[in-house]
C-alpha cells in the first residue's frame, strides 16, 4: 500500500494518543506500587493479617478493612445475584418483547444514578428502616439460632456492615442483570426448541437447556459484580459506620471497608508511612480489580463474545 507523508503523520499521531491508554494503566500500577513501597516493605504480609491501625504509633494493619470489604461484598452478591438472574431469565424468556425492552431500560437507569446519590438514599431511607425495623426483627428471629445467631447479635446502630452490603446489592443489580441477560439471550434457539419439543414446561426448558448453557457467563456476571462491589466507595462510606476496627461476628458492627477507610482518612495522612499505608490499600483494590476483571471477561467471552456490560 502507498504510504505518503500525510499517512505517516496521521498514523504517528493516532498511535501516540492511543498508546497513552496502555501507558496510563502501566503508570497507575507502577507508580502506586512505588508510592506504597515504604508500607509494603515495613509491614509485609502483616498488613493483611493485623487489624491494628494506629496512626499515632505508626502501626498499620488493614485486616479489619479487608474483612469489612469481604463481608459487605458477600452480602451484596448473596442478595443481588438471585434477583438479577431471575430478572434476566424473566426478561429474555418470559416477558413479551415490548415490555422486556422497557423493563430492561428501567433497570439500566439504576446504573446511571451516581454512587453518592445511592449513599444519600441509603443514609436517610435504608439506615432508619434497618435501625427501627429490619435489624430488631432479624435479631429477634435469626439472632436466637445457634450457628448464624452471632451474625445478628450486639447493639443496633443502623450504620453498619449489613446496610453497607444492602446498598451495594442495589448498586450492582443493573450490571448483573445486563450481563446475565446477554449471556442468556446468546443461548441458541435450537437448544430451547429441542427441550420444548420433547414436552418440557417453560421452566424445565430454562433449567434444562438455557441455564446450563449460560452458566459460565452468569458466573462471569457475578464475578464482575464482585469486582464492582469491592471498590465501591461513596455509598458505602455514608452507611457503613466507619468507627470500629474490631473484627467480630456481628453484621451490626459499624465497620470500615477498604474504600471507605481511604475516603475517611486520606486528609489526615500527613506522615510518610501513613500516606504509604493508604496507598497500599488502594493498591490492593487495584490488584483485585485487575485480576477479577480479567477472569470475568474471559468467562463471559466464552459464552457471549465481547461483553457489552463494559461501559456500564
Amino acid at each position: 500500500m502507498r504510504s505518503g507523508r500525510g499517512d505517516r503523520l496521521f498514523a504517528g499521531g493516532v498511535t501516540g494518543l492511543a498508546l497513552i491508554v496502555p501507558l496510563t494503566l502501566a503508570g497507575i500500577t507502577l507508580l502506586m506500587v512505588d508510592a506504597a513501597w515504604p508500607s509494603i516493605s515495613t509491614y509485609g504480609l502483616g498488613f493483611l493479617t493485623s487489624s491494628t491501625w494506629d496512626p499515632v504509633k505508626e502501626i498499620f494493619g488493614a485486616a479489619a478493612y479487608l474483612y469489612g470489604t469481604l463481608v459487605t461484598t458477600a452480602i451484596a452478591v448473596i442478595l443481588a445475584a438471585p434477583v438479577a438472574v431471575g430478572a434476566a431469565i424473566f426478561l429474555v424468556e418470559y416477558a413479551p418483547r415490548r415490555i422486556a425492552g422497557t423493563l430492561s431500560f428501567l433497570i439500566e437507569v439504576l446504573a446511571y444514578i451516581p454512587s453518592i446519590v445511592y449513599g444519600l438514599w441509603g443514609l436517610f431511607v435504608l439506615v432508619p428502616l434497618f435501625r427501627e425495623n429490619v435489624e430488631p426483627f432479624l435479631q429477634a428471629t435469626l439472632g436466637v439460632l445457634p450457628l448464624v445467631g452471632g451474625l445478628f447479635g450486639g447493639p443496633i446502630g443502623g450504620r453498619d456492615l449489613l446496610v453497607g452490603g444492602v446498598i451495594l446489592a442495589i448498586m450492582i443489580l443493573p450490571l448483573l442483570v445486563a450481563v446475565s441477560r446477554e449471556v442468556i439471550a446468546a443461548v441458541p434457539t435450537a437448544q430451547r426448541e429441542g427441550m420444548l419439543g420433547i414436552g418440557a414446561t417453560k421452566w424445565e426448558m430454562v433449567r434444562g437447556a438455557v441455564l446450563p448453557y449460560a452458566r459460565i457467563g452468569i458466573v462471569g456476571a457475578i464475578v464482575l459484580g464482585v469486582a464492582r462491589a469491592f471498590g465501591e466507595t461513596m455509598a458505602v462510606t455514608l452507611v457503613v459506620g466507619n468507627s470500629s476496627t474490631a473484627i467480630t461476628s456481628s453484621l451490626f458492627v459499624p465497620g470500615y471497608t477498604m474504600a471507605s477507610a481511604i475516603a475517611n482518612q486520606f486528609v489526615e495522612a500527613s506522615g510518610k508511612l501513613y500516606f504509604s499505608a493508604i496507598v497500599e490499600i488502594a493498591v490492593l483494590l487495584l490488584l483485585v480489580a485487575l485480576i477479577v476483571n480479567t477472569l470475568a471477561r474471559l468467562l463471559i467471552r466464552r459464552v457471549a463474545g465481547t461483553p457489552q456490560g463494559f461501559a456500564i
Binding site: L9, F90, L110, I113, V117, F124, T201, A282, L285
Partner: protein, 289 residues
Amino acid sequence: MSAAAIASPSWRIRRRRRVIDTVMAVLLTAATAIAVGLLLLILGYLIVNGLPALNLAFFTERPKPFGVEGGGVGPAIVGTLIVSAVAGVIAIPIGIAAAIFVTELRPGRWGAIVRFSAELIAGLPSIAVGVFVWSFLVRGLLGKYSAIAGAAALAIIMIPIVARTTEEVLRLVPGSLREAALALGAPRWRVVMRVVLPTARAGVATAAVLALARAAGETAPLLLTALGNLFFSTDLLRPIAALPLQIYQYAASPYDDWHAKAWGASLILVAVIAVVSFALRAFAPRVPR
C-alpha cells in the same frame, strides 16, 4: 382400582410439573418487580425530598454557614462544569484516537492490547484512580489539591468510555465506504478523517457526551483531588467545588437543612445525567446490541 392406581402417579407428576412451572414464573416476575421497584422507590424519594429545596437562589448562590437561611450550590455547579470540561478536553481525543487505532490502524495484536488496557482501566475502582492522582499529582508533582488534578482523575475514568463507545460506532461504518474512498486514490488518513469519522459523527458525539455525563457524577476521585470549595473558583490550580462533593459534605453533616440541600443537589445531578443520557439515546443512531 387398578386403572386409577396406574393413572394416578403420572397425573400427579404432571400436576407437580405444572405447579413448579407456575411458581417459578411468579418468582421470576417478582425478581423483575423488585429490580424495577427499587428504581422507582429511589427516584420517588429523590423527587419528593429534592423538589422542595429547589429555587433560583439554590442554583446561583454560594453555600451559607449553618444557621443562615438560604444559600445554594452555585460554586458546585460551576465547578462540576469546569472540571468535567477540562477532563473532556484531555480524554475525548485520547479515547477517539484509541478507537481509530483499534478499528482502522492496527486491528491485530496492538489493537487488542489497547482495547484490553481500556477495559481494565474501566474496571478499576474510581477510588483507586483517585488515590493514584492523589499520590502522583496532589502529594507529588503539584503539591496541592487542585481542579486540574480532579480533571486528570475524571479523564482517566472517561477515556475507556469514549474509546469503547466510539469503537462500536466506527465498526458500524460499512467497509464498502472505506474501500470506495481508497479505490478513488484517497490516502488512508483522508479516508479516516473525511469518510469514516464524518459518517460516524453522531455516534462519536454520543460517546463523548455519555462519558461527560458519567464523569459528572463521580465523587470518590474528586474527593481526593479537587477536595471541594465553598467559594466560586475558576482557578485550575486551586481546590474547586463539585456537585457530588457538595452532596457528600451536606449528607455527612448533622443538620436537617443541609440534608434537604443534599437531596436538592442530588436531584439536579440525576436530572442532568438522565436528560443528557436519554436525549442522546433517543437521537443517536442505533448501536446494535
